[in-house]
Amino acid sequence: MAEATERRIKIAFEVNGGAVEQDVAPEVALIDLLRDGLLLKGVKRSCDMQVCGACTVLVDGAPVSSCTVPAFEVRGKRVLTIEGLAADEALTYISDAFIDNAALQCGFCTPGMVLAAKSLLDANPSPTEADIKDYMRGNICRCTGYKKIVEAIQEAGRIARDGARS
C-alpha cells in the first residue's frame, strides 16, 4: 500500500438528518468522505478547485465546496446533500421549480445548483435577478445558459413566499 497517513481523526456529525461517526485521515476532502465513504453520489466532482460549485453541499445551512474542505472540519456540524434535500418533502418546491422551468439539462451541476439556490432562498426569499446572479456566480452550468435557472429560482421564491406549495 502507498504511504497512508497513520493518524485518523474521529468525527461525529450529522448528514441529511442522521448522526454519523467516521474515522477520517486529515487529508481527506469532504467530497471523498461523502461520495466514497457514505455513497452520497449526488455530490459531484468537477473542477476540484472551488470554481464550479458542482460539489456544493450545505454545512450548517451555508454552501461550501466539498472538494476543498477537509472532512474533519464538519465535526459537530449539519451537512445537507442533495439526497437529504430530495428526501425532505417540504423542500421539493425548489427542485420542482427547476424541472418546471427546464433549468437543468445534463444534470451534473444540478445537485450543487439546487443546494445553492436553497441557501439563497433561505436568506432571501425574494431575490432580484441581480441577487440571483451574484449569489449563484460560484455555480457553473455549461448546458442551460443560466437564464432558466434564474427563472426557476425566482419561481421557487414565489412559491416559498406565497405558500402556494409547502
Binding site: V43, C47, C143
Partner: protein, 750 residues
C-alpha cells in the same frame, strides 16, 4: 404529418429524467461502482514532443497494491491504434509523444492513492524534439514532423469559373480571421469503468456514441460486436467532447493487464488534455458588384487538429462546407487543410467547423456592407439562399426560405427601430451598437438509427433508443413522440437508453441528429405497434381497421371500446404478452426525406447589442436574441434550453475562452486560468425565437437545434462592436486588451 393537432408533441412537458437529476439519483459513469474494480491513474508526458527512450516501471510494479502498469510494450495481441477516421492514435504512447499530457503509461491499483503513488514511481526518459503548437510553426520550414508530416487532411470544392469571375467584379475583399482553441468543459470529465473478461468486454463510459465505441473496442480486441457491451449512464455534458472513442481502449487494455475491472475518472485537467475544439485561420475573398450582388467567393482555411487526428478529417471538411455562408454565389472555390500540432488533439465540438466558418463569413459580410455603404441586413437579404436553392452544389437543397426566419429575429430584436442611446456625457467613450449574423450548417451526420418499442399487456410501453442522454432531453422528446403515436399518456412510457446489449443500433448522438433521425425511428416503431393494435381491434370488433378510432389507450367502434392492453391480453389468451414495434431509419426512409446529404440544414441567426468602453476595450453584451429553428418543437422549453445553452457557450469563446500554449506547454489547463461563462455573463436580455415552419425531415416536420445557437454569436458581437466604434476585430476572443488595441490602432491611424 400524420395529424394536425397533437396531444403530447409540442407541449413543454417536464423532462422525464428531471426527478432523477434534481434528486441526485441520476447515475453518471463517474458514479459507477463495479465489484472488485481497481483504480486507474494516467502517467502524462510532461513534454509536448519527444521520443521515448526508456520506461522503467519496475518500482511502480513492486509497490504493494499495484495490479498492473500499462505501457506501449503491453499492447500485444491486439490492435494498437485507434481513431474515428485515421487510426493514428496509439492506445498509450508508443515510442513517441505528440502533445503535453499524452498518456505514456497507466497504473491500476487497489485504490486511487496507491495508483497515484505508483504513477510517480514510473521513470520515463525522453529525447526532446522541437515542438510546434500552432499552425504557423507546424508548417514552418524545418518543423519536426509530428506524424509522417504535419499535414493531416485536405478538402475542397469548386464550381463556376472563379478566376474569370473575380476579374469582372467591381470590388474584391479579402480578410483573414482566427479562432482560438477552446475547451468544451463538460462538467463530468471523461470517466470509464472497463472490464476485460476474455471473450467478453464490458464498459461503463461517458460516451456520446456507444455503438461506435463498441465497434472500436471489438476491432481493437478482435472480438465480435455481440461480445462487447457498452453501457452509457447519464452523461454529464458532451457538446462533442465525448464523441467517438476517447479513453475506453486504454482503460480496457489496463483492465486486461490488471485482470479485473478498472475505473479511470479523469480530472478536468486530464480532460482538457483529451480533446478540444479546432483552432482555425480562415481567409475569405469575395468578389461583389457595386449594387451588393455577391459574385465569387474563394476561401482558404487551416484547422489545428493537435497531436492526433481525432475528428480532424470531418472538421477540415465542415469548415469548408460552412464557410460560404447562407448566400448564393455563381463562382466558388473553397479549400481547407487540417494540420497536426503539438497540442491537445482536437475533436468534435458543437457544430464542427461551424463557429470558425461563421466567424469568418459573417464578419466578412459586414466588412463588405460597410465598405459598399449598404445596410448589412439589406446586403444579406439580397444574396440570401431561398427554399430549394442548392447552397452547395450536389447537396440537399435548402428546406425553407431564410428571409422570413431572419425577419422573425430582427423583429424580436427591434432592429429596424433601433436607436442607440446617446453616450452619457460623463462617459462619452462608452458607445453602443448592434450586430447581426446568420448561417446555415449541414447537420444530421448519417441517417442510421433504429428503435424498438415493447408494448405491454397493461397498455404501457417501453421505448429502446441508442441515443445517449447528454442533457439535450432526448428521453423526453422520444417519449413524447412515442406517446403521440401510441395514443397513450406520456406517463405510460418508459425510455431505456444506451446499453448496447439492450438497445438497438444508433450511429451517434451529435450533429443535432437525434430528434430528426431517432425521432423518426421511434415514430415508426410506435406506428408499427399501433397498426398491430388496430389489426387486433379489427379482429375483436369483426370490422376493418380503418373503421376504428384509437385514442387515450383504447380502440372504439360503434359505442363499444376495448383497451390496448385488453387487445394484447386477448391475443395471447391470458394475462400477459406484449407487442413489439420496430423503426428503421436509413437514407431510403419511406418519408423520402433522407435521400440527400445533409440530413437537414441547421439554421443559426443572432442579433446582439453591446456597450464598448473605448478607454478600456471592455465589452458588455447587453442583449442577445438567438433563434432555434426546430421546424416543429417537440418540447419547446427544451428547444429553448438547447439554444440558450449553445449561445452561452459561444459567448464564452467570443469574449474570453482560449486555451494557451507556449512551445507546446499548455499554460491554462484548469478552470481558474481557463474561464467559462458564469451567471455574471448572462446578458441583460437573452431571448430565443422559436421558428416553427414545419420544414424539417424529422417527425411532424421537426429538425435539430442542438448546434445552431453557437454559430452566430461571435460575428454578431464583433459586428456590433464595429457598429459601436467603427473598429473591426478579426481575432477571437474579444478580450478588453484586444479590443482596446484595435481601437487604439484606429485612433493612431486616423
Amino acid at each position: 404529418m400524420t395529424q394536425q393537432t397533437y396531444t403530447t408533441v409540442g407541449q413543454p412537458v417536464r423532462r422525464i429524467d428531471g426527478v432523477d437529476k434534481v434528486s441526485g439519483r441520476a447515475e453518471f459513469a463517474v458514479d459507477v461502482v463495479v465489484p472488485g474494480m481497481a483504480y486507474g491513474k494516467l502517467v502524462p508526458s510532461p513534454l509536448p514532443h519527444a521520443l521515448i527512450t526508456s520506461i522503467d516501471a519496475s518500482r511502480a510494479r513492486a509497490l504493494p497494491g499495484v495490479y498492473a502498469v500499462l505501457t506501449g510494450a503491453e499492447l500485444v495481441n491486439m490492435e494498437t491504434h485507434y481513431g474515428s477516421d485515421k487510426k493514428d492514435r496509439p492506445i498509450v504512447a508508443m515510442g513517441k509523444v505528440r502533445f503535453q499530457g499524452e498518456p505514456v503509461a497507466a497504473v491500476a491499483a487497489v485504490d486511487l492513492q496507491t495508483a497515484e503513488a505508483a504513477a510517480e514511481l514510473i521513470e520515463v526518459e525522453y529525447e526532446e524534439l522541437s515542438a510546434a503548437s500552432d499552425i504557423a510553426s507546424a508548417l514552418a520550414d524545418g518543423a519536426v514532423p509530428i506524424h509522417d508530416s504535419n499535414w493531416c487532411h485536405e478538402y475542397g470544392y469548386e464550381w463556376g469559373d472563379v478566376d474569370e469571375a473575380f476579374k469582372g467584379c467591381d470590388r474584391i475583399y479579402e480578410d483573414t480571421f482566427t479562432f482560438p482553441m477552446v475547451y468544451h468543459y463538460a462538467m463530468e470529465p471523461h470517466s470509464c469503468v472497463a472490464s476485460f473478461e476474455g471473450d467478453r468486454l464490458r464498459v461503463w463510459t461517458s460516451a456520446q456514441h456507444p455503438f461506435l465505441v463498441r465497434a472500436e473496442l471489438a476491432r481493437i480486441f478482435r472480438l465480435q460486436l455481440d461480445e462487447v457491451q457498452v453501457i452509457v449512464p447519464y452523461v454529464g455534458g458532451g457538446y462533442g467532447s465525448k464523441s467517438y472513442t476517447k479513453i475506453e481502449p486504454l482503460v480496457m487494455a489496463l483492465s486486461r493487464e490488471a485482470g479485473r475491472p478498472v475505473r479511470l475518472a479523469q480530472s478536468v485537467e486530464e480532460s482538457m488534455k483529451t480533446v478540444r475544439r479546432h483552432a482555425a485561420k480562415a481567409t475569405v475573398r469575395t468578389g461583389v458588384m457595386n449594387d451588393g450582388t455577391f459574385v465569387a467567393r474563394e476561401c482558404l482555411s487551416y484547422v489545428d487538429t493537435g497531436g492526433y487526428t481525432d475528428n480532424g478529417v470531418r472538421v477540415t471538411e465542415r469548415i469548408s462546407d460552412r464557410i460560404v455562408g447562407p448566400y448564393m454565389f455563381d463562382h466558388v472555390r473553397v479549400k481547407s487543410y487540417g494540420i497536426y500540432t503539438n497540442s491537445t488533439p482536437a475533436g468534435s465540438y458543437r457544430s464542427i467547423g461551424g463557429p470558425q466558418a461563421s466567424w469568418a463569413c459573417e464578419s466578412a459580410t459586414d466588412i463588405i456592407a460597410a465598405d459598399l455603404g449598404i445596410d448589412p441586413i439589406a446586403l444579406r437579404l439580397k444574396n440570401l439562399a431561398k427554399k430549394g436553392d442548392e447552397l452547395r452544389r450536389g447537396k440537399r437543397p435548402l428546406e425553407g426560405d431564410l428571409a422570413p426566419k431572419l425577419r422573425l429575429v430582427l423583429d424580436e430584436f427591434g432592429w429596424d427601430s433601433y436607436l442607440p442611446v446617446a453616450p452619457d456625457p460623463a462617459h462619452p467613450n462608452i458607445k453602443r451598437g448592434i450586430g447581426f449574423a446568420a448561417s446555415v450548417t449541414n447537420s444530421g451526420a448519417s441517417p442510421t438509427s433504429t428503435s424498438l418499442v415493447r408494448f405491454h399487456a397493461d397498455g404501457s410501453a417501453t421505448v429502446y433508443i441508442g441515443t445517449t442522454e447528454i442533457g439535450q432531453g432526448s428521453r423526453s422528446a422520444m417519449a413524447q413522440v412515442a406517446a403521440e403515436e401510441l395514443r397513450i399518456p406520456l406517463e405510460s412510457i418508459k425510455v431505456i437508453g444506451s446499453d448496447t446489449d439492450v438497445v438497438p443500433y444508433d450511429r451517434s448522438t451529435g450533429s443535432s441528429r437525434s430528434t430528426t433521425l431517432m425521432g423518426l425511428a421511434v415514430h415508426d416503431a410506435a406506428v408499427d405497434v399501433r397498426e398491430q393494435l388496430m389489426q387486433l381491434a379489427a379482429g375483436h370488433f369483426e370490422t376493418f381497421a380503418d373503421q376504428l378510432e384509437a385514442s387515450a389507450g383504447q380502440v372504439s367502434f360503434k359505442g363499444e371500446s376495448i383497451t390496448f392492453g385488453g387487445l394484447v391480453r386477448e391475443m395471447f389468451g391470458g394475462s400477459g404478452g406484449e407487442l413489439m414495434g420496430r423503426g428503421y431509419v436509413t437514407s431510403n426512409h419511406a418519408s423520402g426525406m433522407l435521400h440527400d446529404d445533409p440530413v437537414f440544414w441547421e439554421v443559426s441567426i443572432g442579433a446582439a447589442e453591446v456597450e464598448v468602453d473605448e478607454d478600456t476595450g471592455a465589452v458588455r453584451l447587453l442583449r442577445y436574441v438567438s433563434a432555434a429553428d426546430p421546424g416543429k418543437a417537440i418540447n419547446p422549453k427544451q428547444v429553448e434550453g438547447q439554444d440558450e445553452g449553445a449561445a452561452m457557450q459561444a459567448i464564452g469563446h467570443t469574449m474570453f475562452e482560449e486555451m494557451l500554449f507556449e512551445d507546446g506547454q499548455f499554460l491554462n489547463p484548469n478552470l481558474v486560468d481557463y474561464r467559462v461563462p458564469t451567471f455574471m455573463d448572462l446578458p441583460d436580455e437573452f431571448e430565443t425565437v422559436l421558428i416553427e415552419f414545419g420544414d424539417g425531415p424529422g417527425p411532424y416536420g421537426s429538425k435539430g437545434v442542438g448546434e445552431g445557437g453557437i454559430v452566430a454569436v461571435a460575428p454578431a458581437i464583433a459586428n456590433a462592436i464595429f457598429n459601436a466604434t467603427g473598429v473591426r476585430v478579426r481575432d477571437l476572443p474579444l478580450t478588453p486588451e484586444r479590443v482596446w488595441r484595435a481601437i487604439d490602432a484606429a485612433r493612431r491611424g486616423s
